[in-house]
């Protein structure tokens, strides 16, 4: 009854032990070793190559770096708070009120989430930049609008980009609260507002704070947005990139010290959130779920207006990009009217970039899927210490920014038999290790829903453990695995922050090319490539929704 339910109690050496060894080798070589390199190099003196603390001291005392730390915290906290201010009210509205077109709202939120991370920045330039469309309109009225450049622009873009995490997590938590809790609060004399702050909010806090912390970590790790619209506003991720590229050829000690600092900040944020949640895990009992109220007249109109405004703003960049991609161009400039010139140029000039993106991403997705299924099996079904260790180690990529991971890879795979610099393999491998935890998480959540007794039944009927896994467990996991693979694919094709340091001309990918095109002012090409990425992501979103039982929750 009370004993742990392991398939075979004694830890004898078998197929799964072999998988465990392989898993440890993979995370050791692709995750721990590169990060150790980054950590170690921070303690080296760039000139004398001896042990020193100067790099770290400099990062923590020099005004240039202190300013960047301060800026990073500002955009991190700003993005997180902004995401909560948009996400929590939106979640409350869609979870508790009848909203016409609720499906449209969640779909738009998901689309905003999976769109390439940098198109937000660049679209907002098109709208609110110094030459932006809205800037011009307002200027015509004689009012000078503040431009998008700088901290407030970055925070705006992050809030609109990352709020779906808070929204989707909070909404699902709100839906799973047992209605009796709120009824009990009301019965004991709470007004609706008291009830929300005393009962509802505390109950969804674990979910909301997980979403919020994700926004914080992604905000401080983001490279594309601050580098496109930050101008003089530097964050740790932009200076890490710039330091690395300027230290190229020398020893990149400052870049790695900054990198370590970013990892530490992310980790502290995650630990803080875990500490705050503590043991507050409320198992959702599905007994009496909340019903959606029908808002009356003005209330209903206000709620609808709010919901559509939020997702409308969040998906505005997508509309801008698609619209721009169909504008007629002549060379790099828009020549008025519509046309397919941008697409023609993309296909003529950079077909290999498109091919690269799909080739690398498909390969990485395949690796993630196979490794994800096997690793999640070890983690969920084998409750050994090593499995627990593997589970915790897989948390690491969540807090390691892409730029940092890329620097680690460049330090590790640069010589001898392991010289992968400039190859497609290094890009596939970094996509693999950065997204592996998401793949493992997607498959483990499916696996957890499959009762161990199902496999035991197969074994007691004569199937070997491996055969029970293949004929019973895998087919049951399949929908979740496919949904997870599509999610991995979406994130892989849109990856920028790590590939930007790793690519060489023959291995450039679409996001890299878009980034460079934006910097060169080639907006037509940027828009056409982004649209291709958007359509691919959108198709996968459709697939995920189709294959996943939890629908939009598969995306967080």
């Amino acid at each position: 009854m009370s004993g742990p339910r392991t398939m075979r109690g004694s830890a004898q050496f078998d197929f799964w032990s072999l998988i465990m060894l392989a898993a440890l080798a993979i995370v050791g070589a692709l995750l721990l070793w590169p990060i150790a390199q980054v950590l170690g190099l921070g303690f080296l003196d760039a000139e004398t190559h001896t042990f020193t603390l100067t790099n770290y001291i400099k990062v923590l005392t020099h005004p240039y770096y202190l300013g960047a730390i301060w800026n990073t915290m500002l955009v991190g906290v700003g993005g997180m708070v902004g995401a909560c201010l948009l996400g929590v009210p939106l979640a409350y509205c869609t979870a508790r009120y009848v909203i016409k077109g609720r499906g449209v709202i969640t779909t738009l939120a998901v689309l905003a989430l999976v769109s390439p991370p940098f198109i937000g920045a660049y679209s907002w330039i098109v709208v609110l930049g110094s030459n932006g469309w809205l800037t011009q309109q307002i200027k015509a009225l004689g009012v000078a609008l503040p431009t998008i450049y700088g901290m407030h622009g970055i925070i705006l873009v992050f809030s609109l980009k990352f709020f779906p995490f808070v929204y989707l997590m909070t909404e699902s938590a709100l839906r799973n609260i047992n209605r009796s809790f709120e009824e009990a609060a009301e019965n004991l004399g709470c007004t609706p507002l008291q009830r929300f702050f005393k009962v509802t909010l505390p109950l969804v806090f674990p979910a909301t704070s997980s979403g919020a912390i994700l926004c914080f970590v992604l905000s401080i790790a983001d490279f594309g947005t601050p580098s496109i619209i930050g101008r003089d506003f530097r964050t740790l991720s932009t200076i890490a990139y710039n330091q690395y590229t300027s230290e190229m050829g020398g020893t990149p000690t400052m870049a790695v010290s900054i990198s370590m600092l970013m990892i530490v900040i992310s980790m502290l944020a995650v630990l803080l959130q875990r500490h705050m949640i503590g043991k507050r895990r409320y198992a959702g009992s599905m007994t009496s779920l909340n019903l959606q109220k029908r808002g009356t007249g003005l209330t209903s109109a206000a709620i609808h207006a709010f919901c559509y405004a939020v997702v409308g703003l969040a998906t505005l960049p997508i509309a801008v990009v698609v619209y721009t991609s169909f504008l007629q161009t002549k060379g790099p400039v828009f020549s008025g009217g519509f046309g397919l010139n941008s697409y023609a140029r993309v296909i003529q000039e950079v077909p290999e970039v498109i091919a690269n993106t799909f080739r690398f991403s498909l390969l990485a997705t395949l690796l993630i899927t196979v490794a994800g299924v096997l690793m999640s099996y070890i983690i969920v079904r084998r409750e050994t210490r090593l499995a627990g260790f593997l589970d915790s180690i897989l948390m690491v990529p969540y807090v390691v920014p892409g730029v940092v991971m890329a620097i680690g890879f460049l330090l590790t795979f640069n010589s001898g038999a392991l010289d992968l610099v400039g190859t497609g393999s290094i890009i596939v491998l970094i996509l693999f290790i950065r997204r592996l935890p998401y793949g493992v998480r997607a498959t483990s959540s499916v696996l957890r829903q499959i009762k161990p007794s199902i496999e035991e039944a197969a074994v007691s009927l004569g199937a070997s453990p491996a055969k029970a896994f293949a004929t019973v467990t895998v087919p049951l996991m399949m929908p979740g695995v496919i949904a997870g693979a599509m999610m991995s694919f979406i994130t892989a094709i849109n990856e920028l922050s790590s590939t930007l340091l790793l690519y060489t001309a023959p291995t450039a990918t679409m996001p890299v090319r878009v980034y460079n095109a934006v910097l060169d002012g080639e907006f037509g090409i940027a828009a056409a490539l982004s649209t291709i990425l958007l359509v691919s992501s959108g198709l996968c979103v459709y697939g995920v929704m189709h294959f996943s039982q939890s629908k939009e929750n598969a995306f967080v």
């Binding site: 009370s2 075979r8 109690g9 007794s453 199902i454 074994v459 007691s460 009927l461 199937a463 087919p475």
Partner: protein, 360 residues
């Protein structure tokens, strides 16, 4: 002849010892039930027989052959699970056929055997359905058919009825018992429900703290409990400490009592007497030896078939009493006085402690 033999089985999870040296012999064709509260080790023992747990020490013999070294897939034991464990991606037919396919039985024979067992469990019309189209009771019938169709050497059932509602539980337990008797299959059944255990079993094994407390027929376990734990767990019971009622004469509820020699030898305070609630009579003269004592009603609950009274004997605490719900009894209200009669022959005596032995 013993069909299943367990010899000195030990199993520990870290510092928690789940099974302490358990030895059992289960007769061929018997319906053998492991009964006990959660955490008593009954499921651990069942899963050791199935091969899902490797015991730390001890031996398991099936028809005289040691099976301890065999994997769970090589033991040819049928298992019925608490949560049904019906494969959700396979039809009813394919679920039941699963084990036969593993045994490489020819397709025609599979078809015939599956049809036959589905008819037996009244699911012949549902062969092509998917599990989610079935009710809980039907799913467990699939689980039962799937385990029996492979003609296992022993059928193991892990609380198969605990996820079903009360009416269905009684219905299905009848079916399980008649199927088991019709096939003559040795069955080891785990439950924490003492009524279920008594009603279906040939032999009941009461477990507590990883130790076998008693193995016996349902009648013996109920009427001749080996120790106080069994007397507490199986059915309901009143425990009354014996007192010295002057001049070394033992007393019950303040009345003098004639006790067997084994009890008389012990100090009065070191013996606890037990009386089943249904053995206490209310407002009737005492038939034979025993005690008659006044009491006050504290609570009366009518359950349809009977009337459950909680009464207080002043200075001696509360007693549970079960009576027929006749007009006089139904009229009883809290505070009413009544007379209780307890016959000496209905009393059992136990040494003190949770598992104090019965004194003959």
């Amino acid at each position: 002849m013993s069909h299943v033999e367990l010899k000195n089985i030990r199993k520990a999870y870290g510092s928690h010892v789940a099974l302490k040296d358990v030895s059992l012999n289960i007769d061929s064709g018997a319906f053998f039930t492991l009964l006990g509260p959660s955490g008593c080790g009954k499921t651990t023992l069942l899963r050791a027989i199935a091969g899902f747990h490797q015991q730390d020490a001890g031996e398991i013999l099936l028809a005289g052959q040691s099976i301890g070294h065999l994997g769970a897939n090589k033991r040819n034991v049928g298992m019925v699970f608490q949560d049904f464990a019906v494969f959700p991606h396979l039809s009813v037919f394919d679920n039941v056929a699963f084990g036969l396919v593993q045994q490489k039985v020819p397709a025609a024979e599979i078809r015939q055997r599956v049809q036959a067992i589905l008819t037996t469990v009244q699911l012949a019309e549902n062969a092509d359905r998917m599990p989610h189209q079935l009710s809980g009771g039907q799913q467990q019938r699939v689980g039962l058919a799937r385990a029996m169709v492979i003609r296992p050497k022993v059928l193991l059932m892990d609380e198969p009825l605990s996820n079903l509602d009360a009416k269905l539980r009684v219905e299905l337990r009848r079916d399980i018992r008649s199927l088991q008797q019709a096939f003559g299959i040795t069955t080891v059944y785990v439950t924490h429900d003492q009524e279920e255990a008594l009603s279906v079993s040939d032999q009941v094994c009461v477990m507590h703290d990883g130790i076998v407390q008693q193995v016996g027929s349902p009648w013996d376990v109920y009427n001749r409990p080996a120790n106080r734990f069994v007397a507490t767990f199986v059915g309901s019971n009143n425990f009354i400490p014996l007192t010295a009622a002057g001049a070394g004469q033992p007393g019950l509820l303040g009345q003098p009592l004639v006790v067997p020699p084994a009890v008389r030898q012990r100090q009065a305070g070191a013996v606890v007497a037990s009386i089943r609630p249904e053995k206490i009579t209310v407002n009737e003269p005492l038939a034979g030896d025993g005690v008659r004592v006044g009491a006050v009603v504290r609570q009366a609950m009518f359950t349809g078939r009977e009337l459950q009274l909680t009464v207080e004997v002043t200075g001696h605490g509360l007693l549970d009493v079960l009576t027929q719900p006749n007009a006089a009894m139904i009229a009883l209200k809290p505070g009413d006085a009544l007379a209780l009669a307890i016959r000496t022959e209905d009393l059992l005596y136990f040494a003190p402690g949770e598992t104090g032995a019965m004194l003959q």
